[in-house]
């Protein structure tokens, strides 16, 4: 039983990682075919850093992710506090609308926003979709994740604390920042990180709302529609490396935090 489960686990991880290993290995391939090995080379990485369009796409992606994650976090946190004040049917309704983008097929969300944006551009003169529409779209689909990660923290919080702070002479805004904010901070951070990664990774909704602007996933898509260059492998490897590094750092910090908590 033990061995069987080990073999099984190994098999599944092979399934999960084989494609990634292939991508990484072939990014160092000297020849430009995808299946034949032609010796070690770094030429695709050199090409990657010289690719102006790619660097522009990367810049756009990061810019959109930072702005929309920040916007979604701010809007979502405040919203969670407001929603918490609702009871009964109204609250249920609001939560349903909030969760709608998570449940709705991504392609339908993308298409519906495209219809709205195109309508709006026609209404307000013929400007183009682009950074603006992308930021709005990304903020919108990130919002539910922020709200849903802040809400539980709010529910856990002892509401008397806030009242106590006010009784002690703290004005509401001050009481919020002194008492509520520190309590729900972990939820906010989780929401922020989720929003950021979701925004960086999004293809489907961006595809419909990008106009002439290219984000990294859209650029990758156009790469796969053309004669494929192993540059795309090099790009995957770099991205994978960055993600691996980030996760390691986050996890190290988490264990550190846990240790600190234990020591407390």
């Amino acid at each position: 039983m033990k061995i069987a489960s080990k073999v099984y686990t190994a098999f599944l991880f092979l399934f999960l990682y084989a494609p990634i290993v292939v991508l990484v290995v072939f990014s160092f391939n000297a020849s430009s075919t995808r299946t034949m090995w032609g010796g070690f080379s770094m030429r695709w990485y050199e090409k990657l850093v010289q690719d102006q369009m790619l660097l522009l796409a990367l810049r756009n992606t990061l810019l959109i992710a930072v702005i929309s994650a920040a916007l979604a976090t701010a809007l979502g946190t405040v919203a969670a506090i407001g929603i918490n004040a609702y009871k009964g049917i109204a609250r249920k309704m609001i939560m349903n609308v909030t969760k709608f983008p998570m449940v709705n097929p991504e392609i339908v969300t993308g298409v519906s926003m495209m219809l709205l944006f195109v309508f709006a551009t026609r209404l307000f003169g013929d400007s183009s979709l682009g950074m603006g529409s992308l930021i709005i779209a990304h903020t919108t689909f990130c919002l539910p994740y922020v709200v849903l990660s802040v809400m539980p923290k709010l529910n856990q919080m002892d509401s008397h604390l806030y009242e106590a702070a006010q009784d002690l002479g703290c004005p509401p805004v001050c009481a919020f920042f002194k008492v509520v904010f520190p309590e729900i901070m972990p939820g906010i951070v989780t929401g922020l990180i989720m929003a950021f990664t979701l925004s960086i990774d999004d293809f489907v909704i961006s595809y419909f709302t990008s106009g002439t602007t290219q984000t990294l996933p859209i650029y990758i898509y156009s790469m796969t529609r053309k004669r494929i260059s192993p540059e795309i492998n090099a790009l995957s490897t770099v991205l994978f490396g960055v993600i691996l590094l980030l996760l390691l750092v986050i996890n190290l910090r988490k264990t550190k935090d846990k240790k600190a908590e234990v020591e407390k």
Partner: protein, 272 residues
């Protein structure tokens, strides 16, 4: 802290960018190019019922296989020590952080007639198998992309099961198989349900996987919608009608799933 005003900016935002766009989809679905009311679009959707059948069928197969493959892994992971669990879950999630276009592209390389898998098969003396551009390849792409969504919720439910219940069952004389079938599995149903939803919904509505691995001949609903909006047959009215039908279908599915989801409050899916 009981300030409803705090939610107003958010409510305005969601109305503008969630409710209004959905209303526009409905509006487009029921009008023609000149904006007059028509049922023409919806009746045309019927001509594409094959695509719906195919999408649901392939999505269902992918979901079933993901469940069969993912459950044992989630179970194995949940048995380990905490440290081990964290590492394994990290490993399951890691591929998900790669852009799904890149992951799918990697499978193209593997599955081609002269791809790595076939070369390997030929090298060990087995014949080559035609894999790329088949329905099987599309299902494989779906499983690969969405199986972590199956493993994670099942795992998190399994770890929350109170060990003392299992011990109680064992004390009462149940063997391992019975404990699993009578205690562990029923208690993990909420995880299974949310896993099924999280795999089935994106699988049914995917539109790139079938293009990349299915060769364009295995049209799915997502491709059909893409075709009407940014693809080879520009017709946003028909596209909206197809989107609307897809949405209704998905919402009914979610409703069914939620019926199994007792006591789950705000964390679960949509409350229908």
């Amino acid at each position: 802290m009981k300030s409803k005003t705090a939610s107003y900016p958010y409510l305005i935002w969601t109305t503008l960018f969630i409710v209004v766009p959905m209303a526009m989809v409905v509006f487009f679905a029921f009008t023609d190019q000149s904006g007059a009311f028509t049922l023409q679009n919806l009746s045309t959707v019927g001509r594409y019922s094959n695509v719906f059948v195919r999408s649901i069928w392939l999505g269902a197969i992918a979901t079933a296989i993901s469940l069969v493959l993912g459950y044992p892994l989630a179970y194995t992971i949940a048995q380990g020590t905490e440290r081990r669990q964290n590492v394994m879950i990290m490993l399951v999630m890691l591929p998900m952080w790669m852009n799904f276009l890149l992951r799918t592209y990697a499978w193209m390389t593997l599955l081609e007639d002269n791809g790595l898998l076939n070369n390997a098969l030929a090298a060990i003396g087995l014949g080559r198998i035609h894999m790329i551009n088949t329905q099987g390849a599309v299902v494989l792409g779906m499983i690969y992309n969405y199986i972590p969504y199956m493993i994670l919720p099942i795992y998190s439910v399994l770890t929350k099961i109170d060990q003392s219940i299992i011990e109680a069952a064992q004390d009462l004389g149940a063997d391992q198989k019975r404990v699993f079938l009578r205690v562990v599995f029923p208690m993990s149903i909420p995880g299974v349900i949310s896993g099924i939803t999280m795999v089935f919904v994106p699988a049914v509505s995917t539109f790139i996987i079938s293009k990349m691995l299915g060769g364009g001949g295995n049209l799915l609903i997502g491709d059909l919608i893409d075709m009407q909006f940014l693809g080879s047959a520009y017709n946003p009215n028909l596209g909206s009608a197809i989107s609307l039908v897809l949405m209704v279908l998905i919402l009914i599915c979610m409703g069914i799933m939620n019926q199994f989801d007792d006591g789950e409050n705000e964390k679960g899916g949509l409350m229908i």
